[in-house]
C-alpha cells in the first residue's frame, strides 16, 4: 500500500511537472505572435471562430482553432497582437 501511494505521488508529481512544462512551451510557442499584425495571423490561420471587439481598449479578442490547437489572441488599438495564448 505504501509503495502504491509512493508510486502514485511520484506519478502525480511527474504529471504536474510535465503539464507545467507543456503550458510553458505552449505560451512560448504562441508568444511568437506578439507584436505581429492581425492580418498576418489571418494569412496563416484563416478566419477566427469568434472575434469580439474590445470597446474599452479599441482592440479585439480573437479565438482561433488551427491545426488541432486552440488559441486566444488579443490585439491593441493599432491592430498588433498584444497577448497570445495556446489554450489546447
Amino acid at each position: 500500500m505504501k509503495r502504491l501511494i509512493t508510486t502514485g505521488a511520484l506519478a502525480i508529481g511527474l504529471m504536474v511537472i510535465a503539464a507545467g512544462c507543456t503550458a510553458q512551451e505552449s505560451r512560448k510557442a504562441a508568444s511568437e505572435w506578439i507584436g505581429k499584425d492581425r492580418t498576418q495571423l489571418a494569412t496563416q490561420m484563416g478566419q477566427p471562430k469568434e472575434a469580439v471587439p474590445m470597446t474599452d481598449t479599441g482592440g479585439e479578442m480573437l479565438f482561433y482553432s488551427y491545426e488541432g490547437h486552440h488559441y486566444v489572441f488579443e490585439t491593441g488599438p493599432d491592430g498588433l497582437i498584444t497577448s497570445a495564448v495556446q489554450t489546447r
Binding site: R27, V52, G58, M61, F63, H70, S83, R88
Partner: protein, 550 residues
C-alpha cells in the same frame, strides 16, 4: 692697399667656405691643416713658406675635400627633397581626406529629408482609423414601456404591437494617433438619434421653417482622450498599466461589455439601468501580473457627475473603482475564474444653488451609489457571469422610460372608457425619484460556442427591483434575452435573438396615499384615488442584430 684688399677678400671667401661647411670642419682640421702664404709685394698666394712670404691663413685639409663637400651638399639637398616629398605626401593625404569628407557630406545632405517627409513615411505606424457599426431589425409582438434595449432606440408603448424598425445604433469612427512611444490619443465620434423637436423658426411676416432636430441621426463625441502607458514600467507587475485623461470608458461598463461579448445585441445590466459607458475624467487602469499570469485587473477613476452627453453642473465629483481578482492566474484577459467588485459614488447633476421644490425637494441632488459583485468564469469557447447589483437613487423614472414612457398629457379611450397614463407616471416618479430609493438586481449571462461551427448561443437574465422600499413594487421586472450568433468572418457577425421585459407582479391597483408616502404631495389632497392597473404590460420582441468591426 690693393694687396690688403685682396688678402681680405681671400680671407672672407675662405671664412664663408668654413661657415658653409658647418661645425664638422674644425674637428677634421685638428688632424691636418693647410697653411697658405702670401707675397705682399705681388699678392701671390703660396702653399709653402718662402722669402718675403707671410702666413696668410690655415685651412683644414678636409675642408678642401670636394667630394666630401659635394656629399654633404647632396645630403642636405636630399634631406630637403625628402622633407618636401613628405610635405607633399601629407598634403595629398589631407586632400584625400577632404575629398572623402566632402563626399560624405554630400551623401548626408542627399539623405536629409524634410520633417513632413518623415512624418508621411511613418504615418501608417502613427495613425489608425477603425470603425464599429451596429445595426438591427426589431419587431415587437408586444410593445410596452421600458428602458432602451440599445443606445438611443425607442419604441411606442402599449397597443402598438407588430411595431418594427430597422436601426443603426452605433457607427464609431475610431481615430487612434500614436505620436510617441507610450502615448495614444483616441477620438471616437458616434451617432445618436435626436429626440424632441425645437420650435419652428419664423422668417419675415408669413414664413416658417420647420425644425429638423427631431429624429435625425446626429454625431456626438463618444470617446476623446489621451492615454499614457509607460508610467508604471518601473514596477514589473504593473508594466503597461495606463493613465487616461478626457472622455474615457468608465471603470465598469466597457469592461463588462468585453467580458460578456454581445454588446451589439443588448446592454449589460448597469448600462441598461442607468450608467453610461463613457465619462469625462481621469482614470488609472490595467492588469497586475506575476510570471506572465494576470492575478488582478483594476480601474479607478474620478469623473464628472454628468454623463458624457450632459453638461456638468455640480461642485462635487464621482468616484468609480473596479477590481477583478483571478485567484488561479489568467493566461489571457478574462481567462478562468474571476471575482469582480465595482463601486460608484456620486451625486445628482444639479447646480449647488438649486432650490428644491415640492414634492421632491432636494432629491435631484441626492447621492447616487452603484455596486456590483460578480463571479465569472471564462473558457476559450464558453463563459458564464453571475452578478449582484445594489444601488441608491440609481434608477429614476427617466431610466425606466428611456425606451418608451407614458404620455402625461394625452387621454385615450379603451372600450368607451377614457384613460390616461398621467397617474401611472406620477406614481412612478413617487417611487423612483424621491431621493431615498434602493435598487437591487440579480443577473446571469453566458455564451457557448458550438464546436466546429460558426455559431454561438448566448443569453442574459436579470431580475430588477427599482426600489426595494416599495412593497410588491408593480415596477419590478425580469429581463431576458436569448439568441444565436453567426460569425461570418473576423469583421462581421450576426445574431438572431428574442428580448423580453416581464413585469412579473400580478396586476394590481396602488393607492395615491401610498404613493404620497414616498413623495408627500405628489398626488394633491385628498389623494383618495387609486392608480388602476399599476403593473405595466410586458414587452416581447424579435431581433436580427449585426456588428461590423474593422
Amino acid at each position: 692697399m690693393k694687396v690688403r684688399k685682396f688678402r681680405l677678400a681671400i680671407a672672407a671667401a675662405l671664412g664663408a667656405t668654413l661657415l658653409a661647411l658647418g661645425p664638422t670642419a674644425p674637428a677634421r682640421a685638428q688632424s691636418a691643416m693647410l697653411k697658405l702664404y702670401v707675397d705682399p709685394a705681388t699678392g701671390q698666394v703660396f702653399t709653402k713658406p718662402g722669402k718675403g712670404r707671410t702666413l696668410l691663413t690655415e685651412v683644414p685639409a678636409a675642408a678642401l675635400d670636394t667630394s666630401a663637400i659635394e656629399q654633404r651638399v647632396e645630403q642636405k639637398t636630399q634631406a630637403q627633397l625628402d622633407a618636401n616629398k613628405q610635405q607633399v605626401s601629407q598634403l595629398v593625404q589631407q586632400n584625400a581626406q577632404l575629398e572623402l569628407s566632402n563626399a560624405n557630406l554630400e551623401r548626408q545632405m542627399a539623405e536629409i529629408k524634410p520633417a513632413w517627409r518623415s512624418y508621411i513615411d511613418n504615418f501608417q505606424d502613427k495613425f489608425r482609423v477603425g470603425t464599429l457599426v451596429y445595426g438591427d431589425y426589431r419587431m415587437y409582438t408586444h410593445t410596452g414601456f421600458q428602458p432602451q434595449e440599445l443606445t438611443q432606440i425607442n419604441n411606442p408603448g402599449p397597443q402598438n404591437n407588430i411595431f418594427n424598425s430597422f436601426d443603426i445604433t452605433r457607427t464609431y469612427l475610431n481615430f487612434y494617433f500614436f505620436p510617441t512611444d507610450g502615448w495614444t490619443a483616441r477620438i471616437t465620434p458616434n451617432i445618436y438619434r435626436t429626440i424632441g423637436g425645437g420650435t419652428a423658426d419664423t422668417v419675415g411676416n408669413g414664413t416658417s421653417y420647420s425644425s429638423n432636430l427631431d429624429g435625425n441621426l446626429g454625431f456626438r463625441l463618444k470617446y476623446g482622450y489621451l492615454e499614457y502607458n509607460k508610467l508604471f514600467n518601473g514596477i514589473e507587475p504593473l508594466k503597461g498599466d495606463a493613465v487616461q485623461m478626457g472622455q474615457i470608458p468608465n471603470a465598469f461598463v466597457s469592461w463588462e461589455e468585453d467580458l460578456y461579448g454581445f454588446r451589439y445585441v443588448n446592454l449589460t445590466p448597469w448600462n441598461y439601468y442607468s450608467l453610461s459607458s463613457s465619462q469625462v475624467g481621469l482614470a488609472v487602469n490595467g492588469p497586475i501580473k506575476f510570471n506572465e499570469l494576470q492575478y488582478a485587473d483594476y480601474n479607478i477613476g474620478v469623473y464628472d457627475n454628468a454623463s458624457f452627453h450632459a453638461q456638468e453642473q455640480t461642485n462635487t465629483k464621482q468616484v468609480m473603482s473596479r477590481i477583478s481578482a483571478y485567484p488561479f492566474g489568467a493566461k489571457w484577459r478574462f481567462d478562468g475564474l474571476g471575482v469582480t467588485w465595482f463601486f460608484d459614488y456620486g451625486y445628482g447633476n444639479v447646480a449647488p444653488d438649486t432650490v428644491g421644490v415640492k414634492p421632491f425637494y432636494q432629491a435631484p441632488e441626492a447621492h447616487i451609489m452603484r455596486q456590483s459583485i460578480l463571479a465569472h468564469y471564462t473558457a476559450e469557447n464558453w463563459g458564464i457571469i453571475g452578478e449582484f447589483d445594489y444601488g441608491h437613487n440609481a434608477f429614476s423614472s427617466g431610466n425606466l422610460f428611456s425606451g418608451s414612457g407614458p404620455s402625461t398629457t394625452t387621454t385615450f379611450t379603451i372600450d368607451k372608457t377614457a384613460f390616461s397614463y398621467a397617474n401611472f407616471n406620477t406614481m412612478t416618479t413617487a417611487f423612483l425619484n424621491n431621493g431615498r430609493t434602493v435598487q437591487q438586481g440579480f443577473d446571469l449571462m453566458g455564451h457557448y460556442h458550438i464546436p466546429k461551427t460558426p455559431f454561438t448561443a448566448f443569453g442574459l437574465w436579470s431580475l430588477w427591483h427599482p426600489n426595494t422600499n416599495v412593497q410588491s413594487d408593480p415596477l419590478d421586472f425580469q429581463r431576458w434575452v436569448v439568441g444565436v450568433q453567426y460569425q461570418v468572418n473576423e469583421y462581421l457577425r450576426f445574431a438572431i435573438d428574442n428580448q423580453n421585459i416581464n413585469y412579473y407582479r400580478g396586476q394590481t391597483n396602488v393607492s395615491q396615499q401610498y404613493a404620497n408616502s414616498f413623495a408627500p404631495g405628489v398626488f394633491k389632497k385628498p389623494a383618495s384615488g387609486t392608480i388602476l392597473d399599476a403593473v405595466p404590460v410586458d414587452t416581447h420582441s424579435f431581433w436580427i442584430n449585426m456588428e461590423f468591426s474593422y
